[in-house]
Symmetry: C2
Subunit: 237 residues, 2 copies
């Protein structure tokens, strides 16, 4: 029984054009980049008039800003929750895996109810990062760095013998791998000749977690590699 009089529940029912524009812009930006998409493209995809975009978001940059502000907070909160859970895991290896999962999972599927999940927004971040978008760069640095530091510090606690700087490198590689997987999934399908599905986000995440946990545990660069012990011969550097 729908009661039209109640003004409280109006949020879900309205065909909100503002939302449609945000959604269309997110989709188009994440595929084609910021510069290749015009305001008219967005308006058309959202079934709106170009003027509406100006009305709701003032400028094209403002639209991008709104997209970021919409996603950043929920995504980081979800990461913090998972990170706190991961902290309680006893076994070192299990804990490492939980930490990495806490970082990666919200990037693939957002914990919020925003349609399309976090994967699209993460792909958007990847593209903006590659394009050197200033608006995005500013937000990212001031919004994600805290989470990144928490993530790095927590790994460092689990792997105290590895210099923090090297953990930074490896977690940087993780983010790059994550971005690239979302940007060009078809390459995985192609190179595996169909044996792997690059578009299978869940499987991609499992592969990424497994791969990253292993790389994190590698010996530090300035330390001798323990696994080399069996090869008593020469060691090239």
């Amino acid at each position: 029984m729908v009661r039209p009089s109640a003004s409280d529940e109006s949020a879900a029912r309205k065909p909100n054009m503002r939302e449609a524009i945000l959604c269309a812009a997110e989709e188009l930006f994440s595929i084609n980049g910021f510069n290749a998409v015009s305001v008219r493209d967005i308006a058309q995809a959202a079934g709106a008039n170009p003027g509406s975009v100006t009305y709701h978001f003032k400028t094209k940059d403002g639209l991008l800003l709104e997209i970021y502000q919409r996603h950043c907070e929920p995504m980081n909160r979800r990461r913090s929750e998972l990170l706190t859970e991961a902290k309680r895991v006893r076994d070192v290896q299990d804990r490492l895996e939980a930490i990495v999962r806490a970082y990666v999972l919200p990037a693939f599927s957002s914990g919020s109810d925003l349609a399309g999940g976090g994967a699209r927004f993460t792909r958007l971040r990847a593209v903006m990062s590659a394009e050197g978008n200033e608006v995005a760069g500013r937000i990212i640095a001031q919004t994600f760095d805290d989470t990144s530091h928490a993530f790095i510090d927590m790994i460092h606690e689990s792997l105290p013998h590895i210099p923090r700087a090297e953990i930074v490198w490896r977690s940087h590689f993780l983010l790059g791998a994550l971005y690239y997987t979302l940007v060009t999934p078809e390459r995985v399908s192609r190179l595996s000749r169909g044996d792997a599905d690059g578009f299978d986000a869940a499987h991609a995440m499992e592969q990424l977690v497994r791969s990253t946990v292993a790389s994190l545990q590698a010996a530090a660069l300035d330390q001798p590699d323990p696994s080399r012990r069996r090869a008593v011969g020469q060691i090239k550097t």
Copy 2:
């Protein structure tokens, strides 16, 4: 729009204008992306007239095409050479490292005499990939897939117990990490609070090689993880 900084005067007395245009375009595209750079930006950076760009390369796409054709062949040849050398390495771990190095090294510093090295071109590829550039995508698929397959197959020979599809995933992550490192090196410096220099390409490469070799040796997803027996990194032949 493009940042007015950079080195505009570098090509003041260039005898070969075609080369100067190529070089300027490569630089600008790799920083700002394809769509954000106008033909006039390129011409100004090269100290040329906008009409010259049309004369030498017909269209903007033609210019990008020429950049790719200029770099792809030398880079892949260098990779093949290094891969052939890597094949002769006896020790499995050393061979893996040599293979990864053969893949990564030409991407950081091109073996050819082209000024600026391969890093700039690799960053260009990263940005074009993120933007979903069609011209670039077509060339990449038909030029680099052979090398990628050779790379993957060679790793698979050294790690026969890991399904080829999983090696595809991991080498895909490698490329993503490589791209991202070249795209946003300042993030490494920032997150490491100065302990690491993201712009130090040589060191980045060492970190990437170490990290990747470890991730490649991780147990496959459908297999039980041997490292859970607490013995770190000990792998029997």
